[in-house]
Symmetry: C2
Subunit: 203 residues, 2 copies
Amino acid sequence: MAQVTFWFELASTYSYLSAMRVDKEAEAHGVEVVWQPFLLGPIFREQGWESSPFLAQPAKLQYMWRDIERRCTALGAPFTQPSKELLKIFPCHTVTATRVALVGLQEDWGKAFIQACYQAQYADHQDIGDEAVLATLIERAGIAPEDALEAAKSPKIKAELRANTEEAQACGLFGAPAFTIGDELFWGDDRLEDALDWGKAAS
Amino acid sequence: MAQVTFWFELASTYSYLSAMRVDKEAEAHGVEVVWQPFLLGPIFREQGWESSPFLAQPAKLQYMWRDIERRCTALGAPFTQPSKELLKIFPCHTVTATRVALVGLQEDWGKAFIQACYQAQYADHQDIGDEAVLATLIERAGIAPEDALEAAKSPKIKAELRANTEEAQACGLFGAPAFTIGDELFWGDDRLEDALDWGKAAS
């Protein structure tokens, strides 16, 4: 079976769209998907940006929220136009949440936790950079938060996230979500179908 | 009949994709399309960029050429990976070419000329900032280049292009192509279908 790698960042609004539909679409295409979280922060900093490039482009940022709202409506995914509070913390700090996601993906609760992280941010306007919020989300995925958070802070998980981010960079990633099949890179939720078609043809 | 405005910039690779398919898709949707050329330069300069933001992001630029290549293949539109010469002039200066396009759109050769401009750049690696190149493209559209270039330099056409660009800015445009239906904005060739669906529903 063909394998497509799904690269996502937990603070990325367009990654949210893909996280809500990638498994269903992949199944329809007969393609296997590997969920690979990484951090955009170090990649943005290499470009000279301190944070999301959206913040430097007010017109694009404003458009993005409306675009995401329309796409969430089409997908049936929850979304609420950002509150002033969310705008102040956007994009959330995702290092700890992403390490927790890595732990969860190695067990069986990763995807539920990841989807909960996106909805916490973009429907409920919660800060997933806050460990108390994370604990609630982990608990909702059916896991003891203390154990998951401890595992997330292990040297092994920290090294894995660093390695994922370095691999993303080596693959030429500059944003999220992205999809790779061998050397072929597709960027953006809009390229999900193309990536799956490519994966299917390559198998 | 519903009306959708198609905003494009002659140096924009993704506008090329839309220019090659917008009329056919609009017809299939039963929606009327108004072709509205504008300049991205003044909008980019307002953001503090001297040129295309692609130039500041080498990984994204490299990806873009491959992405456009794949999409052109799917569309059956001519494309050749950029030569060193094209990379030196990308993005071309489009002020005169866009004024010519405005003249052509008020007659009956605008769309043929616009498509020729995109193919000259992205299949043949020609500089549409060069008036000799433009003259050839105008001639190929069946028009005397001298007349078209003279009309393009009239105060009326200059004012129209300025007004289009100001209107684009007022509509919140930050890139091209884009599509508007009333206050609703869609950005990117990937949103063409969504924009036409929106236009159809609004009619």
